[in-house]
Subunit: 356 residues, 2 copies
Amino acid sequence: MPTRVKYSKNRNTSIVKDARTMKPPFVLFLADIQDTLAAKSATGLLYWRPEDCIAQVRMPDCGVSIELPAVDLAEAARLGAKTFVIGVTNSGGILNPRWHSYILSAINYRLDIASGTHDRLSDVPEFVAAANRTGVRLLDLRHTDTPIPKATGLKRQGQRLLTIGTDCACGKKFTALAITRDMKARGIDCTFRGTGQTGIMISGEGFALDTIIGDYIAGAAELLSPSNKPNHWDVIEGQGSILHPSHAGVPLSLLHGSQPDAFVLCHEPTRLHMLGVTYPIPSVAAVREVTERMGRLTNPNIRCVGISLNTSAFQRDIFQLKQQLRKEHNVPVVDPVIDGTNEIIDYMHSIGLLTE
Amino acid sequence: MPTRVKYSKNRNTSIVKDARTMKPPFVLFLADIQDTLAAKSATGLLYWRPEDCIAQVRMPDCGVSIELPAVDLAEAARLGAKTFVIGVTNSGGILNPRWHSYILSAINYRLDIASGTHDRLSDVPEFVAAANRTGVRLLDLRHTDTPIPKATGLKRQGQRLLTIGTDCACGKKFTALAITRDMKARGIDCTFRGTGQTGIMISGEGFALDTIIGDYIAGAAELLSPSNKPNHWDVIEGQGSILHPSHAGVPLSLLHGSQPDAFVLCHEPTRLHMLGVTYPIPSVAAVREVTERMGRLTNPNIRCVGISLNTSAFQRDIFQLKQQLRKEHNVPVVDPVIDGTNEIIDYMHSIGLLTE
């Protein structure tokens, strides 16, 4: 199973050797965040795995709440929680020392700890000591000990769809998860492939591409979607934007390693600038053109099969926006939250990409 | 001085805190290599800094020799060598345990040790102990402790030239060093910026891009060529190929972060496949087109100012090959080993890029 994450092996002990996936049910730790966006992993888990999320734990000064019972750790343990999930993100991916007492307490209640931070749980000696004593696992989901080879560019069997963005944080993960859900509902053999911490938490596998040396990102993408049955689809979570001046190399390497047969363009129509920089958001057409041009290197048959809009902040006429993009690009245009993605799957049928 | 390498700070001691550049003269260690290509760092240093290289040290089973006196360590010390440079590369960047006794002996003769391997000298306890005892520096040139921010994409003052390749190992470093040498000879204010271990050894500064997390490569490129006087040129060593399926993200990020005003295309005309993969070498025209298309994001005025051929293995009519490329691309075509790069610099004058 080369695509499963091997969680950070603790370097002093062997407590996490057999760790693979987070054991449900989960209690989601919102820590001391003030902004819903920082609860990205918690809200993602709650949306996509609601049956596995039973409670939230918040620090006294936390400014965010999600739709789960707010409990303390004793109550979380009593409810049967098996894993304490650090459900928040911060810039830098730091394991804030203010959270330590909560994490320690969860370990003492014999809950596994799962973290998507850059900082490793297994680098904190007191966590390691407590985990050894209680027999719980410390799951550093953003890290892998899987040796990643350089990409070969060789064609693999099976089919692949990659979500592509005009920016960061514009719906690539959501779109890929929605397509996976809708394909599965129609009996199509498919697998979601996570490339970021939240995607990995939701699916229990994947590689966090933002921890990988540049030279090996395409290789990680090849490992992530290995050879498969001819009719199997990997639906791969895209990262960043190929026209973003800070990080375009990452999505380019993901594109090359994924060798997608199909891509869906994700776009947030109200944003003026790309996140973190003063550059304007590129047009959907520009990102489509560059994706096709660069993607042809490893898959000459790459094609755009849909546009996915995040219209949550769009105040004008959504129907008109969709019509305009549909006319310009000649592919389905959906908001996956409102419409689902069946129109895209129908289109893939109509052009012969799906034959089931 | 944000662009200078901060060498690997030893994590147990503080012996390398003020390390900046390798102290000449150098004795070059060829270890046990059997192939001249593996002596890349030694031959690069000898070509570009001949005055600083005084001897070579070879293991009994070494199959390579360079044009320097072959000495033992006692003799190297007697000749006044100040730095023992590990002048070889291997796949994986490993510090071979077979070399340890030589490195230890050099430390005991009070020579600094410089290494471009992925493995760190400062991770070997016996080296650290000996270096502490003798007061020498362990220079892990491939690693940096400089915090690297994400790229901003903001325009910087000064001008930049980047070498671009149709493949790995086709002359990008050599071409950048030759242009720097030829610009300096004409009084042009310029600096070579190294992006790989040998370039860093030769120039004493730079970042080894092949050790950097994908998201930060463009940021490293921005740090590497900071804002400068309006007429100053940074001549930046390119890496890899933007059409190579294993690693294209790295050169794309380097292109975005470098924001080059000018690029020189480097090509090895006898090669059939890109290194390490079964893909054919792309045409010079294809790499030029993609470089211009992608480079325009951070510098709309990017332009190709020359083609640099490595004709060392070319058996046919070099003049005819050059004429054909010149006609097709309308820029100078040189082999920098044979012709130097003055024709490219003249061309930059003629199109107004150089005004001195």
